[in-house]
């Protein structure tokens, strides 16, 4: 939430007349301190310049060159970008990433909200243990999550196919079929991503006033109506954050798919970050990979911006 909340907060804080400003000239007193805050932000400022500004600047520069990591970086103008737009492998990775995101984000949203509602409900028993169970996947690294689901969905040895064949079905090609393989990645990503969103939802559900539900009950509103017209609007800001963070996270997915099927079968399920990694490190086309990086960055920013706008408009209508 800091990502979206912080800019306005920082801006108001910086305004010369804070709420206490005019009184007894306190704001002037604060302006005196320069050394202490400078020291306090020194470490992070250096880190910011070294590992953020520097890579971003040279990355942008290299995206206009044919740099390969050694020797001279030859300026090629927009050649990398125009080559990228004609690159089938890039489009394949992009569409696969978008499909993956479109599947994971809604699924995670629904399951996280369901889990949060059930855990906050006065009707459920054993929520303490259930909460721990839901939370364990968050502790497990993407690599190990990939291994766990690979073990479960192994084509010749997995439990899932064993159960299916035991029940008289025929083994499902979870690994050799591209779409099924992606589905397993979707399951695994949803499984791993639920706990975090669930925590956000639990906090949000607590903040919806109980009196709203009581009033609605007196008016004879049904459970679904209460959920639809009280709960959902009440947690709308959290829904926005969950969807935004989920989208950005899914667009960057790498480790999980790497362990689960290595972008396979073949290169069918190569997602964007894997494409960038392969181009930059395995084929050492740093200039070209940098161009792909900046396209991904533009997409991420566009996604964030579009969702922010949508959120603003919806808030405005209410």
């Amino acid at each position: 939430m800091a990502r979206t909340d912080a800019p306005p907060a920082g801006a108001t804080a910086a305004a010369p007349t804070g709420p206490r400003g005019p009184r007894r000239g306190r704001s002037r007193g604060k302006a005196v301190y320069v050394g202490a805050p400078l020291v306090l932000i020194a470490t992070n400022s250096v880190m910011f310049v070294l590992f953020f500004v520097w890579p971003a600047v040279i990355g942008l520069w290299y995206s206009f060159t044919s740099y390969t990591g050694v020797g001279e970086a030859r300026f090629v103008g927009l050649a990398n970008y125009s080559a990228l737009l004609a690159d089938d492998a890039f489009y394949a990775a992009l569409t696969r990433t978008l499909l993956f995101t479109a599947l994971v984000v809604p699924l995670t949203y629904v399951l996280a909200l369901l889990a949060a509602v059930l855990l906050s409900s006065p009707y459920t028993r054993g929520t303490g243990v259930a909460r721990v169970i839901f939370f364990v996947p968050w502790l497990i690294s993407p690599i190990v999550s990939g291994v766990i689901w690979r073990w479960l969905f192994g084509e010749n040895f997995g439990l899932v196919n064993f159960v299916i064949t035991s029940l008289g079905g025929s083994a499902v090609p979870w690994q050799s079929d591209g779409d099924l393989s992606l589905m397993v990645v979707v399951f695994a990503a949803t499984w791993g991503g639920t706990a975090f969103s669930m925590l956000l939802f639990i906090a949000a559900l607590k903040s919806v006033p109980v009196s709203y539900y009581e009033a609605a009950s007196l008016d004879g509103a049904g459970s679904w109506h209460k959920f639809r017209y009280i709960t959902l609007p009440g947690i709308a800001p959290t829904s926005f954050i969950v969807i935004l963070l989920g989208t950005i996270g899914a667009m960057k997915e790498y480790a999980l798919i790497q362990a689960l099927n290595n972008g396979g079968p073949g290169s069918e399920n190569n997602l964007l970050v894997q494409y960038i990694y392969r181009t930059g490190f395995e084929r050492a086309q740093i200039g070209y990979a940098s161009a792909a990086s900046f396209v991904l960055m533009v997409i991420l920013m566009a996604v964030a911006f579009a969702q922010l706008l949508l959120n603003r408009r919806r808030e405005g209508q209410r």
Binding site: I41, Y123, A130, V136, F196, S223, G280
Partner: protein, 308 residues
Amino acid sequence: MSSRSAAPLEQPAAGLPAALDGSTGRRSSRRRSRRRAELPQRLSATAVLWLLAVVYGFPVLWFVLSSFKPAGELFSYPLTLLPEDPTTAGYVQAWTQFDFYRYFGNTLLVAVITTVLTVMASAAAGYALAKYRSWWLSAFAVCVIATTMLPTEVILSPSFLVVRDLGLYNSLAGVIVPSILTATGVFMFRQFFTTVPDDLLEAARIDGSGELSTFVRIMLPIARPIIITLAIFSFQWRWNDYIWPLIVLNDPDQYTLQIALQGIVGAENVNWSVLLGASVISMAPLVVLYLVFQKHVMSADMNAGLKD
């Protein structure tokens, strides 16, 4: 409301939203039988909760149980839930023959050092943002937010070149140093210190305490809950980090757990016996840490956007 239009809506969701709002009466006539109506709802909501919990818990359960099977039993049909002949051979082999003791040590070193540095740097920066006003502090805040828009995954190759040019390539320091700055950490502390009354700072000033010593002696101790929460989160991020160690480390002696695991997964013939044991070894510390500090994780101020 007409029952015809309501039925399809209420059917699938009956147990859940009812469970959500703490009321039972769908129609006013039913309010009288509230007591009796509660039981089925309690049962259905609990049933759905536990069905979901089983779905989420089962993959890990199956995985951990499998890790105690001897290599020959792993693939022998029919599969059994419990190992018939439990063994820790996979664990022993992973720990000794596959050098997981070393990867474990490397990962622990990286996670602990990074966490200490991250907590210190974030606390200092967050405090500065909360308690001092100036245009360059606002600019700094915007810069920190910007880091979330351009994560390492996006600028892989240039980040690699920077680390190489700084002479940090193939060293654990190359994994540690670039991970110190986290926007989440900075804003968690900023949010916390904003709630600390300015009077406390003023009082310290009147007593003649220097700015930095006020921060270290008064402010840091009261920020203990945030320190613990961020420490847990940071430890988890660094312990599970994959892509950054992957591009920085080249020498197998320096590998962290996640890279070593991926090494086994990516092999031509996956050694599942070792892989299962090694995976369980790698996730055990976090599960223990979580169980010990559960309260701090669950009550974390989630408004600070805890994801890195």
